[in-house]
């Protein structure tokens, strides 16, 4: 079965970006506010934090990477990674890690647009399983949308790494501080087909 989602263009805020339309088979990647946001359901693209978002925040520390755990319940081929920037500043690097922290694919460093939009990556087949979506930034001028909070980052199972922009080939995970309640960046994976 093949699924192809319509290309997403730059749109305003995460709230207005969703739901997206699809021109393929399967369910619309609509909003799911009461399910587990870190579990990906069949036929959905991977959206995190789409149900609501907080006021844009500045990146918390230069060269910090934030790793967001995500579970794919079926095989998907990912060809884009999305990010919700609220300003165009600094360089970011977006990537996907396997469960052990090995970097599978990344965009490489670039300055993001001030919008919610996907960025191309090498087509990457992912089997069902657990992965990390990685976002790193080399400065603190960037503002970005976060999942609605406040939510303790460590309760979400997020991991951080310092000196990690560009993303390293092997992540070295550390826990967020208990006082870090910024939620997580609005980031998403887009499936070309599966």
């Amino acid at each position: 079965m093949s699924i192809r989602w319509k290309q997403v263009t730059a749109v305003g805020t995460p709230a207005t970006a969703m739901p997206l339309q699809n021109d393929g088979i399967g369910l619309s990647p609509g909003l799911w506010t009461n399910g587990n946001p870190l579990v990906v359901h069949p036929f959905d693209n991977v959206y995190l934090g789409q149900n609501a978002h907080a006021t844009p925040q500045s990146w918390s520390a230069a060269n910090r990477a934030v790793y967001i755990p995500v579970t794919l319940q079926r095989r998907m081929i990912i060809d884009r990674i999305g990010f919700a920037a609220a300003s165009s500043a600094n360089d970011i690097d977006l990537g996907i890690l396997d469960e052990s922290g090995e970097l599978l694919v990344s965009t490489g460093q670039f300055t993001p647009s001030s919008s919610v939009r996907p960025y191309d990556i090498t087509r990457t087949p992912l089997e069902a399983g657990r992965y990390w979506i990685a976002v790193s930034c080399d400065g603190t001028s960037l503002t970005y949308y976060v999942n609605k909070g406040p939510i303790a980052s460590l309760m979400l199972g997020l991991k951080y790494e310092s000196n990690a922009c560009p993303l390293p080939s092997q992540a070295s995970f550390s826990d967020p501080a208990g006082t870090d309640i910024n939620g997580f960046p609005v980031a998403f994976l887009m499936a070309e087909e599966s």
């Binding site: 506010t33 399983g129 657990r130 406040p150 939510i151 460590l154 309760m155 006082t179």
Partner: protein, 161 residues
Amino acid sequence: MIANNIYSNQESLWAHGAATVATWTANRAIYIPFHAEVAHTIKRIAFYTGTTITGNIDVGLYDMDGTRRVSSGSTALVGTSQGQVIDITDESLSAGRYYMAMALSAADSMRVLVIGNSAPLAGMLGVKYENSAFPLPATATFADPGSTDTVVPQMALLIDA
């Protein structure tokens, strides 16, 4: 299906991130039922403290018959208004129903979800209480929530070390 973290109250985490803080009854345990759809290995348990902490906490997992599978033992709370995570002995759960449990030694405050304004709603979710249950007992003696018991603590069962 693949194992993922488990949360005590999805709604309070995601729709109401700034959940209510409530004062605990000292030495009370609260048992929150959950359903593991697939096998999990739980490695850590996380929670969020309130504005007052003076005592210790104990968190754990129970079978539905009240048999304790694992607990952290009495552990100091590290600070107010912040997330805290406690390592436990890795506990492998088969698919099925279990309770996650939290007990506090003092009348401290924790971030919670308030389930309505009357006890039956908490009871309908299967939440159980036990007084004089710090540290968490080897065998729980479940009691239904009382007339003023309407809260469920925010907890997360984490599968990543």
